[in-house]
């Protein structure tokens, strides 16, 4: 439990003259449920883009599982065990639901095994998501919650050590939020470390063991959920008072 899985050290990311992240540090422990909050534009997505490799950080280092990720392409990081979801679901729209899952299975976790094995794996992941009845549907006919679950399912198909969930619950109803939370908790109990980015406070407070808060590219708080929620700096960032 105490072993560090992801170590973010002084990560800085600039876009021209604009500093999106300024010396952000955080350590995520193995098996931890880690919350990342902050107002719009505070750098949450930039930080996970740096972790997943879609952006390369200008300064600082990101150590995952004991190895520096510097210079690695996103697909190489995926193979090392980092999976992410996107804020706005990005399904492979010309494929069916099950084919969507077959991509990560074929290229990462079940690479080299038979097609039959891959479809069985994909089906078992859909069962976890209780979406098995949608397996052969086109993605264009899916509802918002189904798209969110597909996004999660595809990330899980990588069999990651670390799952970064970028607003997996945005736009969902109360019951649907609970449904997704339940899935995430179960995955965590099975040993997956999870970073959750969320605007729905109820969800992130209930889920996280520990939370950090970003504001204007800087870390302003780091601690237990019940401490964070009372932190004056966090209140100021969100409410502007």
């Amino acid at each position: 439990m105490s072993e560090v899985l992801l170590n973010i050290e002084n990560v800085t990311k600039t876009f021209g003259g604009f500093t999106a992240l300024s010396k952000v540090s955080a350590a995520v422990k193995k098996g931890e449920r880690f919350g990342l909050i902050g107002p719009n534009g505070s750098g949450k997505t930039t930080l996970i883009n740096c972790i997943s490799g879609m952006l390369q950080n200008n300064g600082g280092s990101i150590i995952f599982d004991g190895k520096d990720l510097k210079g690695l392409q996103p697909h190489q990081r995926t193979k090392r065990g980092i999976a992410r979801t996107f804020q706005i679901p990005r399904p492979f729209h010309s494929m069916t639901v099950i084919q969507n899952l077959q991509i990560p299975l074929e290229f990462v976790s079940s690479s080299g095994t038979s097609q039959k094995n891959i479809s069985e794996e994909a089906m078992s992941i859909l069962e976890v998501m209780s979406m098995e009845d949608k397996a052969h549907h086109e993605t264009s006919g899916l509802t918002q919650i189904e798209l969110r679950k597909l996004e999660l399912a595809r990330a899980i198909a990588v069999k990651p050590k670390l799952l970064v969930s970028d607003e997996a619950m945005a736009g969902l109803t109360g019951n649907e939020v609970d449904e997704v939370l339940e899935i995430l908790v179960k995955l965590n109990e099975d040993g997956m470390t999870i970073i959750m980015i969320e605007h729905i406070m109820r969800a992130v407070m209930q889920f996280s063991h520990r939370i950090i808060c970003l504001d204007a590219g800087q870390k302003i708080a780091d601690g237990l959920p019940e401490v964070i929620v009372k932190d004056p700096a966090v209140e100021r960032a969100y409410l502007g008072v």
Binding site: P74, H75, T78, A83, F86, R90, S94, Q102, I103, F107
Partner: protein
């Protein structure tokens, strides 16, 4: 029986090849082979284009550049030594494939229309170089005299009485048929395999594909190399077929337009689409050249493209499958 079903496609390829060979032995009018060659060449180019454009969604406007570099590699080889046509084809394929790899490396970070513009620029750059390269004829063009009574592996290939083929047009027609079948086989193998599924993911959403572990750059480079190489091979046969080549012919923009119109009219999502488009469009054009006018065929192409984009955006096959589903 199940074995036959399993190898249905391979058997079909073999039958097509035998059919092409039989045609050459029937003593048909030479125009059949002249026009047939053009249609087959388009089928090959369209198939090559579709590997990148249809499966990966990267629109290549530089077909003429790859084709031209294949043609001129063959010409350079003929001028330099008396290389056989098979050697010309291999060399054309290798050079165009390397060009594809290079272009892929430099431009694949560009997406959408930017990639298309870069490939269009490539065709113009290569044409300008050839225009100023006297060894291959420069702007004035170059005449190619096909080797008399050529032999391949000790077999007399073309001879009026004793050869396998009685004239050059028949030989080239058969050669083109073999190359086209090979291209279709390659395209289908890609489509049904891991590479094809990866390319499909890239087409749908490249960033998501990359994050799902698809090595996007590597797959795209493999694809530009194969696609470019096949175009170059199709181009390498061109000098022997035309016997006179100049840059405006070898780098004709018509190739670029046709190579993208044919898969789009046929259907870009499967190997059958480009063939269907090439046979349909190629035949209409060849007939139009003879019966109406050689300029009008571009107008027909434009009209057909407009009609298909509006009425059947997924091509003939897409329209057909949708209709069957209902």
């Amino acid at each position: 029986m199940s074995l036959m079903r399993q190898y249905k496609f391979e058997i079909g390829c073999l039958v097509a090849l035998v059919l092409a060979f039989t045609m050459t032995q029937m003593g048909l009018n030479r125009f059949v082979f002249f026009a047939g060659f053009a249609v087959l060449q388009y089928a090959m180019i369209a198939t090559a284009w579709n590997i990148l454009g249809g499966y990966a969604g990267y629109i290549n406007f530089g077909t003429a550049g790859f084709l031209g570099i294949g043609s001129y590699t063959a010409i350079a080889l003929i001028n330099y030594s008396d290389a056989s046509i098979v050697e010309q084809i291999i060399a054309g394929g290798v050079v165009a494939g390397l060009l594809g790899l290079g272009i892929g490396y430099f431009t694949l970070r560009l997406k959408g229309v930017y990639f298309a513009i870069a490939t269009l620029a490539l065709a113009i750059v290569v044409e300008t170089i050839v225009n100023n390269w006297d060894f291959v004829g420069g702007a004035a063009g170059v005449s190619i005299l096909p080797a008399r009574n050529p032999e391949l592996l000790g077999v007399l290939v073309v001879h009026k009485k004793l050869g396998v083929f009685s004239n050059y047009k028949e030989f080239l027609f058969f050669l083109m048929a073999a190359l086209t079948i090979m291209s279709v086989w390659i395209a289908r193998t890609i489509e049904k395999g891991k590479l094809g599924r990866g390319l499909n993911a890239i087409k749908d959403n490249e960033e998501a594909a990359e994050c799902m572990g698809v090595p996007t750059l590597k797959l795209k480079l493999i694809t530009t190399t194969i696609s470019g190489g096949l175009m170059g091979m199709a181009g390498a046969v061109f000098p022997s077929y035309l016997t006179f080549v100049d840059p405006p012919t070898a780098f004709n923009l018509e190739f670029a337009v046709n190579s993208l119109a044919m898969p789009m009219i046929g259907g870009t999502f499967t190997w059958l689409g480009p063939i269907l488009g090439a046979v349909l469009l190629g035949t209409v054009q060849q007939v139009a050249i003879v019966t109406i006018s050689s300029e009008l065929n571009l107008l027909i192409l434009g009209l057909l493209l407009v009609i298909f984009v509006i009425a059947a955006p997924h091509g003939f096959l897409g329209w057909f499958m949708k209709k069957n589903k209902r």
